[in-house]
């Protein structure tokens, strides 16, 4: 659009943090909870994470097994499509590279559908969850991940809008095509790069 909003000058952007993608604001110390469903009560004794679909070795890890894998950290920012960002966070978990290397994606695999213990789904290009860009995370800010933020473990794909980082994640299904997950069927973007403002389908 051309033109601007009468009377609007905005505030505080002279010192706007360069870590903020366009259209985002810094949520500061708060970490808003945005979930469309009831917060589940998941017992780690029954928790599993599965990699299946177009892989050589469909694989499932229990809570104890996944925690025994070599962990790694993410230190950086997260960006929610509802326009808040949270800067300088720390997460700990296991890189999806470790899990995918164990299952061995078939050459035809191009996308993944992440699914959760609550039935939520979100789709991602395989290239966005490999190469040290994605984790199954069980700690945030040095503490066990709170249930309302997806505990005991959530997907963490911090370079994409945060709805891709599915709470209460249960597994990945590797596909040879892209298909829309829960929010994506509702008009949200299939990839969701915050730096390109890929908020909705067609952006």
């Amino acid at each position: 659009m051309v033109g601007f909003t009468r009377g609007f000058s905005g505030r505080g952007r002279s010192g706007r943090d360069p870590r903020l993608p366009p259209g985002q604001y810094d949520a500061g110390r708060s970490w808003p909870v945005l979930t469309a469903e009831a917060t589940p009560k998941l017992d780690t004794a029954a928790w599993t994470f599965t990699v299946e679909g177009l892989v050589q070795t469909p694989s499932t890890w229990t809570w104890e097994e996944i925690r025994a894998l070599p962990g790694s950290d993410y230190e950086g920012d997260i960006h929610c499509v509802t326009t808040w960002s949270k800067l300088g966070m720390t997460f700990r978990g296991v890189s999806l590279d470790v899990l995918l290397d164990a299952a061995v994606p078939l050459p035809a695999a191009t996308h993944v559908m992440a699914y959760t213990h609550t039935g939520y789904t979100t789709n991602l290009p395989l290239a966005d969850v490999t190469g040290g860009q994605a984790w199954v995370a069980w700690e945030a800010e040095g503490k066990s991940l709170p249930t309302e933020h997806g505990g005991p473990a959530r997907l963490l794909v911090p370079h994409l809008y945060f709805w891709k980082s599915a709470k209460w994640v249960a597994g990945l299904r590797l596909l040879d095509h892209d298909e829309p997950g829960f929010w994506e069927q509702n008009g949200y973007h299939d990839r969701g790069d915050p730096w390109l403002e890929q908020r909705y389908q067609g952006d």
Partner: protein, 240 residues
């Protein structure tokens, strides 16, 4: 969630202009803005629009606001905005925007927290969480389907109630948490299971409010026998 298919909602179109045709005060901290859309699109009850403000140097700030009006084929919609103490967008809308102003909007958005208008629904709102539920109540009333909905709204006191002249009715229950109406037999206090109306066994619950409110209301809703698969929640965080 798996056994529920979201209402199929088209992707929102591009940004378009809307003209503010009226501004109405709801409470000391809330105003309703009536917008005439240049590119009208029939919304579903529960959907929201994004409003984007642009400064002369190109800086933008945008926030999502639920539509309060029922889908009625009109090219106008209403949004109700709570003025948040640090809200860059909400304070601008409250302090600067008057009838005749142009705003940039995008929507309608959302396919999960929406009511089709044809199935039993229990609507539970906390404070400003009433806004998307009001669209559902208005839809029910305007289509002669009031029997399908029960709305429970929790507010601190009578002065905090949005749509105070319109909302009360046989389908609605108003809960005061701090200070009630003098004629009220119920003592002020948090929403409890006794405040929830009887609803059909196949009702879907729509809960909207702050995260603590949504969690408490969800537990109560499960307590009256609505399974988690039929509970839809919209939360708003402490920022905005």
């Amino acid at each position: 969630m798996t056994d529920q298919t979201p209402v199929k909602a088209a992707a929102p179109g591009p940004w378009s202009q809307a003209t503010v045709v009226a501004v109405r005060r709801e409470t000391a901290t809330a105003k309703t803005f009536r917008l005439r859309l240049s590119n009208p699109s029939l919304h579903l009850a529960g959907q929201h629009y994004v409003i984007r403000l642009t400064a002369p140097d190109g800086y933008t700030a945008s926030r999502s606001y639920s539509v309060a009006s029922a889908p009625d084929g009109s090219p106008e919609i209403e949004i109700t905005v709570e003025r948040l103490p640090d809200g860059e967008v909400s304070s601008f809308l409250h302090d600067e925007v008057v009838a005749g102003d142009e705003l940039e909007v995008r929507g309608p958005i959302g396919g999960w927290f929406v009511w089709s208008g044809h199935s039993p629904a229990l609507l539970i709102g906390g404070g400003s969480g009433v806004v998307p539920l009001m669209a559902m109540l208005r839809l029910a009333r305007s289509t002669g389907n009031s029997v399908l909905v029960r709305l429970v709204i929790s507010v601190r006191n009578p002065a905090d109630l949005y749509y105070a002249n319109e909302l009360p009715g046989p389908e609605t229950t108003i809960i005061y948490t701090r200070q009630g109406d003098p004629s009220d037999v119920r003592q002020p206090g948090h929403l409890s299971v006794n405040d929830l109306p009887t609803v059909p066994a196949d009702a879907t619950a729509y809960i909207c409010g702050s995260s603590p409110f949504a969690d408490a209301a969800t537990d109560l809703t499960i307590g009256i026998g609505i399974p988690t698969q039929r509970i839809r929640i919209e939360r708003f965080g402490p920022t905005g």
